[in-house]
Symmetry: C2
Subunit: 337 residues, 2 copies
């Protein structure tokens, strides 16, 4: 190896509210070769996800908090460069938690060998990665859709939401999306085949729900939290499933957000609200990825990729685009080769 300078973005401070430049350090270090059992991967694409904001807090969720000074956690796809692990060989394409850095050295436990005949590399961060798998697990494993159900999804033009609506259609449901702005809403209905969209910037959500969900809501897939969740809860049907996938509206909150007072409808309408993490379904991923690849190949799932080109130093600004909602499609960074 000649080019073994590893550029890394490390967490310098715990952000309060939106992450600032001073919360990050750019560090360069040399990469040692792999020791016994280890694999060295060159990262090619970094996934930029809302969940990253939670990983930066000093609070255990489904993963330990990222220690100060550590390389920022990120989902990645790349290529094995050197391997002292019999499960991987140089040249293998892999997906994993490689972090915001050029090279990732590890024991291979977080790595999945991926099959590029199913889909090209960046799709493994989208439809066959976090976005598609999250939608698949949340809608099909937690939401349990039945044909004819009304499925409402917030953050619908986001990478997860777009998959949720399209999988809902595949399963014979009515798909309704909530998004901000007419461009996103047209995209949902005209490009992705949603039955209806609600532009929360243009219409009061409760009015939009009356219009777009005249028979109530059977499944609400929530990426947003806050008032959106509360307003949706007011319109759930008996036996509804509220799938808690995220709460992007409150990830950067510095005050305690108000909770959904309409949770009490879970009682009168005998409904459930359930959180999930797609990591828990890891043993089922290969089967899910096969379904997702087929739906993608046959045109039942289409997506947009919003790929920022640049080195790891563009990560801090790219992350902020998510919270401004000005990305369009799955946000990722393609590192220079």
């Amino acid at each position: 190896m000649t080019e073994n300078v590893n550029r890394q973005i490390r967490l310098a401070a715990r952000p309060v509210g939106l992450p600032k430049d001073s919360d990050w350090d750019l560090v360069e270090e040399s990469v040692p070769g792999p020791g016994p059992g280890e694999v060295l991967v060159r990262n090619r694409f970094l996934s930029v996800d809302p969940a990253m904001r939670g990983w930066m807090n000093d609070r255990k969720t489904y993963v330990p908090p990222l220690p100060l000074g550590a390389v920022m956690r990120a989902l990645t796809v790349g290529e094995v460069i050197e391997s002292e692990n019999s499960d991987f060989a140089p040249g293998d394409p892999v997906a994993g938690l490689g972090g915001v850095q050029t090279f990732a050295l590890g024991d291979g436990r977080d790595l999945q060998k991926i099959d590029l005949s199913l889909a090209p590399l960046p799709v493994w961060l989208d439809t066959l990665g976090i976005a598609g798998l999250t939608a698949y697990c949340g809608l099909l494993e937690v939401g349990e859709p039945k044909e004819g159900n009304t499925v409402l999804v917030s953050g619908a033009a986001g990478s997860v939401g777009a998959h949720v609506g399209q999988i809902a259609k595949i399963k014979g449901c009515r798909a309704v999306g909530i998004a901000g702005g007419s461009k996103k809403c047209s995209y949902l209905v005209e490009q992705l085949g949603f039955d209806a969209a609600i532009d929360y910037k243009d219409e009061k959500l409760s009015d939009g729900l009356k219009r777009a969900c005249p028979d109530g809501i059977d499944i609400y897939f929530d990426n947003v939290g806050g008032d959106t969740l509360n307003t949706a809860l007011a319109r759930i049907n008996v036996g509804a499933r509220v799938v808690i996938c995220g709460a992007i509206s409150q990830y950067n909150a510095t005050d305690i957000p108000s909770g959904p007072s309409a949770y009490i409808n879970l009682l009168g309408r005998r409904s459930r609200m359930q959180g999930f993490i797609y990591f828990d379904y890891r043993s089922k991923w290969p089967a899910m990825q096969k379904d997702l690849a087929e739906w993608r190949t046959t045109g039942k799932i289409s997506t947009e990729h919003d790929i920022a080109q640049g080195d790891v130093d563009i990560f801090p600004d790219t992350l902020l685009r998510l919270f401004r909602g000005d990305n369009f499609g799955k946000l990722m960074i393609e590192l220079p080769v």
Copy 2:
């Protein structure tokens, strides 16, 4: 029939906050004999339940709102007096929705013939009625306890809560109750066999939960809502089940209560929060009642009855005792014979 004057409590106005005297009318009318298919029941015991407050609002929940001028809805046990319905004969003991009145005339669809060899009449409003069945359905059908789980219940000294803790013990769980006052807390631990009790009037709930649930909460059975729910959600384990049975702290609220901001833990801890109504399990009641009767007979379930003696005119004051929390055990009214 000679004594066919029916004394009734009718809903005169929709209460704002706690029900007032002027929200009720006492009416006397004569009872006609049953027409074809009808059954006339003399009510003997009236069940006084927190859910009654919700029935008085002009809002559909799991039952239609009670119309103004209608007899107050109530669960009752009594005796068939006259019958033109082949399913019932004079002398049959029955449970049903007889309302706050001396006699109930109906088509028999809400009536269950009851077996007094399993338990005497008032127990069919408690362990074999709303309290025991609600605990059974909520804990066993919704909560799905596993041996060794920590089961937390609020309103634990109430009729439902007391059953929840005892059924949790039968299923090999650790039972922890939240109640107000040392008398209720001693009762839980010393009489009912709870493993621990938290007196919310004496100890900050979050401190009490740390002490009494050192390994977190696997099932939280909520009768109370409000801050209690939110504080419990902060301490749930991965895979927890939060069973929403009631929200007595907010039934009389005139402002919109704040929702549980800690609902977001459902995500990180991959948990679910689910409401239920025991009416939905009606087809399973006979089997559940058999279990409950056996547990009662063998001393595994013990309860207290708080029986107010008097005519239907004591109902308004008796109902208020529930919301003051000064009843002890299942509250009911025994009508004079």
